[in-house]
């Protein structure tokens, strides 16, 4: 061990001397020519490392030669739910959203609120139409669209498990069918 220590980097050496220092196995000493070749190879590698670092590419080899600890990349803690993952992604995307193919400089929830408000204004205007055959389907259609927007975006059915959608759809369909039966199947008196 004492012999090996003679060949390692010594305190007080210049950085250039430190870089050129080699850890040599005392049982297999190198000749001066071999040492010169190894030093030249070492310098070539360092040049390459510097070029890579200048290009912004971190290298563990360069860190090892300079005596630095290698960078450890720690895995990010996984989000707890899909809706949390959506909230965590990209701060720049928080302030922009894409809806119906158009990009808006607001979060998606604000865009949806704007759409809901506009749809409500349109509903109020449509309620003034005298022709019932036109007014009723338009109003019902708009109400259903508004409800679906709230359910899909605000209640996160867009990102959550499909089982939640099934949980909502089944009773809605059953209740709707029951309502249609009550509306259109005539009652028979005794």
């Amino acid at each position: 061990m004492a012999d090996e220590e003679k060949n390692v980097v010594q305190v007080g050496q210049t950085p250039k001397e430190e870089e050129d220092a080699l850890v040599v196995d005392p049982s297999n000493p190198v000749t001066p020519e071999e040492e010169a070749v190894l030093i030249a190879q070492n310098r070539a590698v360092e040049e390459e490392e510097k070029q890579l670092e200048a290009a912004g590419i971190p290298t563990q080899l360069g860190d090892a030669l300079l005596g630095k600890e290698p960078q450890r990349i720690e895995a990010a803690e996984p989000p707890h739910s899909k809706s949390e993952a959506l909230a965590e992604t990209k701060d720049d995307h928080y302030n922009t959203s894409v809806f119906l193919g158009r990009t808006f400089p607001y979060p998606i929830y604000t865009v949806i609120f704007g759409v809901l408000a506009a749809a409500t204004v349109i509903e109020i205007l449509i309620s003034g139409i005298a022709v019932e055959a036109l007014r009723v389907p338009l109003l019902l259609g708009l109400a259903i669209i508004k409800a679906l927007l709230v359910i899909y975006y605000y209640m996160h059915l867009r990102t959550d498990s499909r089982i939640f959608a099934v949980t909502l759809i089944i009773p809605t369909v059953v209740a709707f069918v029951a309502m249609m039966y009550l509306l259109f199947v005539p009652t028979q008196g005794y």
Partner: protein, 211 residues
């Protein structure tokens, strides 16, 4: 991950991965909430069906038309905007707490509670105006069919406002902050309830006041 003792079969040992447990708990809570909302769908659909059946009958159509002409559509429309805004504030509050922004969370959830309170107050004003017009719960066929769904919805809004204040208080104490070991799933569950109340009002507003 827990280490398996040497005398146990690894396949028979249940490892307690904390992240998996938390994720499963979140999904269970949300699924339970959706099941509850499914039951509420049935209740509200029954109340709506009762009104719709009355609405399409000849006697009912005339009464509904008369009430709609006398009703303050401006007031009800304002109420609708208030509830839509409260839904927006709710989801923005959820987004804020998911990002660990407690101050914004308090602002948005406080706004949700305030807008919900305003909705209930204006609903009371509307009931007073209808009572002044002679439309009460017991004195006409229209009365019961109108007040049942709207009052039941109003009760849900009142419960929602109280729940919002509880969520606000717990959020202020760091209960939902992931940095202090909390979890925002409680806010998400409340959000599901509040948005459902909003969806019901969207349908009631159209069916009872506009159609």
């Amino acid at each position: 991950m827990a280490e398996v003792p040497l005398d146990r079969n690894p396949a028979q040992v249940h490892t307690h991965d904390n992240v998996t447990d938390v994720a499963r708990s979140i999904d269970n809570q949300k699924f339970a909430t959706w099941l509850y909302l499914a039951s509420e769908v049935v209740i509200f659909m029954v109340l709506i069906a009762v009104f719709v059946i009355f609405r399409i009958s000849p006697e009912g159509a005339a009464q509904v038309k008369e009430v709609q002409e006398n009703a303050n559509i401006l007031l009800v429309s304002l109420n609708t905007f208030l509830l839509l805004a409260s839904s927006w504030a709710m989801v923005m509050g959820l987004l804020a707490i998911q990002r660990g922004n407690r101050a914004d969370f308090q602002k948005w959830i406080g706004g949700t509670a305030l807008l919900g309170t305003l909705f209930v107050i204006l609903q009371g004003v509307e009931y007073a105006e209808l009572a002044h017009e002679g439309i009460a719960i017991y004195n006409s066929e229209f009365g019961m069919r109108f007040y049942a769904p709207t009052a039941f919805h109003g009760a849900h809004v009142i419960i929602g406002v109280i729940w919002a204040l509880i969520v606000l208080r717990r959020g202020r104490n760091g209960h939902y902050d992931s940095s202090t070991g909390g979890n925002p799933v409680g806010v998400e569950v409340f959000g599901l309830y509040w948005h459902f109340v909003d969806v019901v009002w969207i349908l009631l507003f159209t069916l009872l006041y506009l159609l």
